[in-house]
């Protein structure tokens, strides 16, 4: 009977698995196959624009993701006990529904209105702000629900024992929602790829140097039909992404 259930589940999953293999797994593996040329890796690593793109992307991750996670935690802590939290959460989620092209249009208008030089460092600050503003809503919702699900008895027991609020948050609440936190972190990482849409809407193919990210490099080379370059660069990015993903998965097992 159990074997039959498994078979049913497998059959139900089959369309999804086929789609996954055809549209994700196979292209991904083919990308690795295309990149199996050491000279291509060397050429790419020697490319100054690529190195700059990697540098900018890593800087963007290092600044943007921690800021967003911290902000999400802060807002979620403020909201999870609030009676009107559902209203605020809806409000916070609104930017997720705004298409990138509108954001690009507004920002371009601001550039022209205030005669801001694109090449100034403000461009970097601007994209970090846009990134946080647009994507932190989802993180806040996830964390808010995680905090809300935290047992109230434990919180009350900590208060009775004289535990301060800050200590409760850092030593009890946050460690106990570690799986959700790691999920939020990975979500923020993946959302950082989506910022390319807004960047493209604002600056086009060639943004100011300081906000030229790895996504520009990959997309522009794709439009120039440099598929081997795209394959190598994509493999590098995916390999880099695997590190935090595996780390969080491993850490998460300890808490489960």
């Amino acid at each position: 009977m159990r074997k039959k259930n498994r078979l049913t589940i497998l059959l139900l999953l089959l369309p999804f698995l086929i789609g996954l293999c055809v549209f994700y797994v196979f292209p991904y593996l083919y990308g690795w196959y295309m990149s199996l040329r050491p000279t291509a890796w060397v050429a790419l690593l020697q490319n100054a624009v690529f190195r700059m793109a990697v540098r900018n992307t890593v800087l963007f991750w290092c600044v943007g993701i921690p800021l967003m996670v911290l902000l999400s935690i802060g807002v979620a802590l403020l909201l999870y006990e609030n009676r009107h939290r559902h209203f605020f959460l809806c409000l916070i989620a609104v930017p997720l529904c705004i298409p990138g092209i509108y954001i690009g249009g507004v920002v371009s208008g601001l550039y022209e209105r205030f005669s801001i030089n694109e090449n100034s460092g403000w461009s970097f600050v601007l994209i970090v702000v846009i990134y946080i503003w647009k994507y932190c809503g989802f993180d806040i919702i996830v964390l808010c629900s995680a905090f809300s699900a935290f047992p109230r008895e434990i919180e009350e027991a900590a208060q009775i024992d004289g535990c301060k609020r800050s200590r409760f948050v850092w030593q009890i609440l946050l460690p106990s929602v570690y799986p959700e936190l790691s999920f939020v972190f990975l979500l923020s990482l993946l959302n950082s790829f989506s910022i390319y849409r807004e960047l493209y809407a604002i600056y086009g193919m060639y943004p100011p140097k300081c906000v030229y990210l790895i996504f520009h490099f990959i997309t522009n080379n794709f439009s120039k039909l440099g598929f081997d370059v795209v394959a190598v660069a994509s493999c590098m990015v995916s390999a880099f992404l695997l590190i935090p993903i595996l780390y969080f998965l491993r850490r998460e097992r300890r808490f489960l």
Binding site: T39, A40, V42, A43, L44, N47, A48, V49, F50, A53, Y111, E112, S115, N117, E118, N119, G204, M205, Y206, P208, K209, Y212, H216, F217, N220, N221, F222, S223, K224, L225, G226, F227, D228, V229
Partner: protein
């Protein structure tokens, strides 16, 4: 149990039956042939069937058809080739091509003639404009406006420059001259009744129409401008033709079943053919009404109401084979172009030798590039021709990856006297022709008086000269046919940067932007006939871009043209996967010849004020730039921002330098 014959016996039985049947058939055909009278005709073949035909016109060598799609097609019976034309005249305000409703062919000289009809509203009533459009053997077009009517034309007949336009109550007889696009109304014949048929001979026009169970006949003598009328006792007359040589009769008329000769007094002289007695013919015709007949020395051609053409050959005593041939399918050329280039579509509709199917990509240029790249990569690019002068389009990458077909053979076959071959030469990439320049804008010269006097390097003086000139002449640049253009010397710049040249890029960009601003400023006016040109200098001269700019009133001093450059504003490429490469190249040559700003010397005179100057410019081009280079697009974008004041000069220069660095640097060299 059922008894079964052995297989071998079955086979023998079938073979014997087949042999008997074959012998019987042969004997029967031979005996029938011997019984036929000599002056009868025998059905040999159904030559063509035309679907969706409005009118058919038959000659021994060419069958002309006006189709429901508004085009006219000509099928050569010997060559088995199909030629097709659209009127090329755009209706107003619908902006659609006016369709042909009848087609004719003239053999000497060769002319493909179509009658085009445009429906429009005149004084709140529907009205019709009729044009005769003729293409000669060299594809030169001649248009004659025939008439404007409130009732539609019923039929039209043409032969030897005589046109008979049949309306509900009259027939107008015109003499036309396609060489001078002129027409002369010879006569207007009023009639009552139905079914007016016309036969045009060298001197006369025979008009027949039914009235009260008989057929009224009128013969118009073209030379004498007189009519002779009569009546023949046959009704249901469906076609009239001039009788072939060797017959006593002058005309042949076709009733439902009989082909009858008429003498000059319109009396029946002989019964040429009893069609009903031929069982084969009956089978072929299948009861269709014959609408048109035509004789030559050996055969009679008949067009039926079912839009088929039958050829009947005189009996020769030999076995005649019944066969059917179909027209070759007309080629379709699939063209992809960006919305900015869509103005070409009207001209494309005039291309006579193929159906040009144009896909216009209605989105920003950057998306257009992605669209093409993705299609090429996925193998779904089924276009024959793509426009390659859209910004951001990585044309050279397409060429490098082998997606673009080399046009060397075709371009080298173009007659040098008809084309500015210099432009082709300078459009080469990797020593091959991949891009067919269709629209080319030549850059022109500004003479810097200061530079002439040896004060080279005085850029401020040059700008001052520009301002002085504008104040004196007061002719806005924008109203001139040639816009003042400052060319970024792109090719040498790219080449230099790729070779790690890092000279005075800063100075170059400064000069380019400053000069552009000076020329684009409201206070500056280019003199009428004064054009500008910034020399495309090599790497060693990049920093002298400002000083090498010159101004000159070209009308006064044409000798100043020592060489120039041109920008390919509109260019196309043929894809390697195209199945119609030959026709695609011919189409591009057609576009180029027809377009303004063309690389062909023809048909430009009406656009420019002084064609001689343009010819001189084009023939002295020493360098051609593809307008669509990604880098150029970026620089132009920054230049626009600088011009509208959103960037200072320093910022513009820095931004341009950054983008140049990114655009060039992100291409990873293949090892």
């Amino acid at each position: 149990m059922k008894k079964q014959l052995p297989h071998s016996k079955c086979l023998i039985f079938v073979l014997v039956l087949a042999c008997c049947f074959a012998c019987f058939s042969c004997n029967q055909t031979a005996s029938e042939k011997q019984q036929l009278p000599v002056n009868h005709y025998y059905a040999q073949a159904t030559l063509l069937t035309f679907p969706d035909v409005r009118t058919l016109y038959t000659t021994p060598s060419v069958f002309a058809a006006a189709m429901e799609d508004g085009k006219m097609h000509f099928f050569g019976s010997d060559s088995q080739e199909m030629l097709s034309f659209e009127s090329g005249i755009e209706s107003y305000p619908e902006k659609t091509i006016i369709p042909f409703i009848a087609a004719f062919y003239e053999e000497s000289p060769v002319r493909f003639i179509g009658l085009a009809e445009q429906l429009f509203t005149m004084e709140a009533d529907p009205a019709y404009d009729y044009f005769l459009i003729a293409y000669d053997a060299n594809n030169a077009k001649s248009t004659i406006s025939l008439s404007t009517e409130f009732v539609p034309m019923r039929k039209c007949f043409y032969k030897d420059n005589i046109v008979v336009a049949v309306y509900a109550d009259r027939a107008d007889l015109y003499k036309v001259d396609f060489t001078n696009s002129a027409k002369e109304l010879l006569s207007s014949y009023s009639y009552t009744g139905n079914n007016l048929n016309v036969c045009i001979s060298e001197q006369c026009v025979l008009l027949t129409h039914e009235a009260d169970g008989v057929t009224a006949v009128a013969e118009y003598n073209i030379l004498e401008n007189t009519y002779k009328t009569g009546e023949i006792p046959y009704a249901d007359l469906s076609a009239v033709a001039c009788a072939p040589e060797g017959f006593d009769s002058r005309y042949c008329i076709m009733t439902q079943n009989l082909l009858i000769g008429l003498d000059s007094d319109f009396s029946p002289v002989e019964q040429l053919l009893d069609i009903k007695s031929f069982s084969v013919l009956q089978n072929v015709l299948n009861g269709e009404k014959i609408t048109d007949i035509f004789f030559d020395d050996t055969a009679v051609y008949m067009t039926t109401s079912g839009h088929s053409v039958y050829k009947f050959e005189e009996l020769t005593g030999e076995a005649l084979q019944l066969h059917m041939e179909n027209a070759k399918p007309r080629q379709t050329l699939r063209v992809l172009m960006h919305r900015n280039d869509a103005y070409v579509s009207t001209i494309s509709a005039m291309y006579p030798y193929a159906d040009v199917s144009i896909e216009v990509y209605d989105a920003p240029a950057a998306d257009f590039a992605n669209y093409i790249s993705t299609a090429l990569l996925s193998g779904s690019a089924d276009w024959d021709v793509i426009s390659v002068t859209s910004p951001y389009l990585p044309v050279h990458h397409y060429i490098d990856e082998g997606y673009v077909y080399a046009l060397d053979e075709y371009i080298s076959s173009l007659p040098a006297e008809e084309w500015y071959t210099d432009i082709f030469d300078f459009c080469r990439y990797n020593s091959h022709h991949y891009i067919f320049p269709v629209g080319v804008t030549p850059d022109v010269l500004i003479r810097n008086d200061g530079a002439e006097a040896g004060e080279s390097g005085d850029f401020a003086a040059f700008l001052s000269e520009c301002s002085r000139l504008s104040d004196e002449q007061k002719v806005p640049v924008a109203d001139n046919r040639f816009h003042v253009r400052i060319s970024v010397p792109l090719k040498p710049l790219v080449a230099a940067l790729e070779n790690n040249w890092n000279g005075d890029l800063d100075l170059l960009l400064r000069d380019v932007f400053s000069l552009n601003k000076a020329l684009g400023d409201d206070r500056f006016y280019g003199a009428k006939g004064v054009y500008s040109y910034m020399l495309s200098a090599g790497p060693s001269e990049l920093n002298q871009a400002g000083t090498s700019a010159r101004t000159t009133p070209v009308y006064q001093n044409q000798g100043m043209f020592l060489g120039g450059s041109a920008v390919v504003q509109l260019g196309f490429a043929v894809l390697e996967t195209s199945q119609e490469k030959s026709i695609a190249q011919d189409y591009l040559a057609f576009l180029s010849k027809t377009m303004t700003s063309s690389v062909s010397p023809y048909k430009n005179a009406f656009v420019y004020e002084n064609p001689a100057v343009i010819e001189q410019l084009l023939s002295s081009v020493s360098g051609t730039q593809l307008y669509t280079d990604e880098l150029a697009s970026q620089i132009i974008e920054i230049n626009s921002k600088y011009l509208d004041g959103s960037l200072t000069l320093d910022e513009a220069v820095q931004s341009a330098k950054d983008k140049i660095w990114l655009a060039l640097g992100e291409t990873v060299a293949k090892k």
